[in-house]
Symmetry: C2
DNA sequence: CACGTTTTAAAATGAACGTTTGAATCATAC
DNA sequence: GTATGATTCAAACGTTCATTTTAAAACGTG
């Protein structure tokens, strides 16, 4: 008799919750089914029974949140366009609709909270192809619609440019969410601050940064990169000499 | 006799080159020493002999590029400050110095090219603690100096704000470099374009986005996030009902 | 040529991995 | 009470992993 009574939910949900947390902490490859089932206090075979395998579990973990998120995003954009009397929504409102909806999930434990924000932030650059493929498929419809909304809202900006800036915004957001140690070095957290309060501060700052980037002047096509581009002479990156004595080899 | 004559360099460098490429393709956890030594056509034990182990190999792969990159960054900022007659460099020149130096490496095969850009882009959010710790240590000095340069260049922007925007810029850059499939869906590449040309176009677009974000108005502290924040009623993310018939369980 | 460094080869270690299996257990309806 | 289907369980499967240990072979250099 394992003490399942201590836990809030059934086996399936417990696996999803623990899996979500451990996939964030150690990555997909770095998380074993034994770690998950051990912490969730369920049997090892339960994952295969309920989901069919490790990949299918990851898929279920992601879809549980993404389905809700993308429905919400569609609904918010619906309302935005309905309120405009035929006029396209302003760019900053579209930014708010797409990214604000995501960040908002960080304040709601029932929606995964900050754990899910980290998971989604890291999944975009996962080395596992099936994760990126799943995300691309889950996001395709929503991204297509929002991209069109941006294009309509910014008639003077070339379509290509809009697509790139969407990409940059996604990156700045995903990266801020992924929350590396790096951030904690470079940015001083008020350590006794609630996560929800942290998330709100993050949002106000991210929001103005994204809108600022989205409204930037169209880049000069002929802009030349700095001197570092295409320099070949000063580079001696390969070190063919043997390692210094005392280190390896022994 | 394995055909070592086909390869351009010695064992050490061949391991570093193949390791760099495979760590990008499959991630650190997803790359085995057998994959590396097999593709590099060196003995399995060579990694342990030359580097001491898998982690030490990853460390060597990263340091080979980062040492050069950070020296270059220091040098460029030196020149920028020397040319200013006591005046602090303009913000957009600092952006160019920090991120342009990085992007420029993508055009130089001897410096790792786009492979290294992807590696560094993904390493920041790696689930492996020692990788993030290594990056934090390698970047500490340079980031501290550039952050101070930004603060001097933007006397009206609070220090905290500068740190956050630095973080956002890093994210947008790292994410653009990590180059998920997502980007290739959302952005149409001219497929017969040279990687160097791609990198130059990326830079001009990224540059204007970053500068635009850096110059955005200071965010309103009391900005309230959209309706998605702290909503709890409509959420029913947990599905405790058994899976539908036909799927799992069998 | 001789010597120390580097590379190769093959084998073995112990641990951890995802997955499978068949029996035991539980809840529920007859 | 017992039959039934869903769930949980302990145990084992075969594979792969990083690492270590042998030893001999190839190499560059004084």
């Amino acid at each position: 008799m394992t003490s399942a009574a201590l836990h809030p939910a059934n086996t399936r949900t417990r696996i999803l919750d623990v899996g979500e947390r451990l996939f964030v902490k150690h990555g997909y490859d770095g998380t074993s089914l034994r770690m998950i089932t051990g912490e969730a206090q369920v049997n090892l075979a339960a994952v295969n029974y309920h989901f069919g395998g490790k990949e299918a579990l990851m898929e279920a973990v992601l879809k549980r949140r993404l389905d809700w998120l993308n429905e919400q995003r569609m609904r918010v954009l619906d309302e935005l366009e309905a309120a405009g009397d035929g006029l396209p929504p302003r760019p900053h409102k579209i930014v708010e609709a797409f990214f604000g909806t995501l960040i908002g999930m960080g304040c709601n434990k029932d929606l995964g909270g900050q754990i899910f924000l980290k998971l989604i932030g890291r999944s975009f650059t996962s080395p596992n192809g099936f994760i990126r493929a799943l995300l691309a498929e889950e996001y395709r419809e929503v991204v297509e619609r929002y991209k069109q909304a941006f294009i309509n809202a910014l008639p003077d900006v070339p379509r290509q440019e809009v697509a790139w800036r969407f990409q940059f915004m996604l990156g700045a957001t995903a990266y801020a969410l992924a929350g590396s140690d790096f951030l904690q070095v470079s940015v001083q957290f008020d350590s006794d601050e609630l996560p929800e309060e942290q998330t709100r501060r993050l949002w106000s700052r991210l929001y103005s940064f994204l809108v600022g980037g989205m409204r930037a002047p169209i880049p000069d096509e002929d802009l030349l990169p700095p001197q570092a581009f295409a320099l070949a002479s000063t580079a001696s990156a390969d070190d063919d000499s043997p390692p210094p004595g005392g280190g390896f080899p022994p």
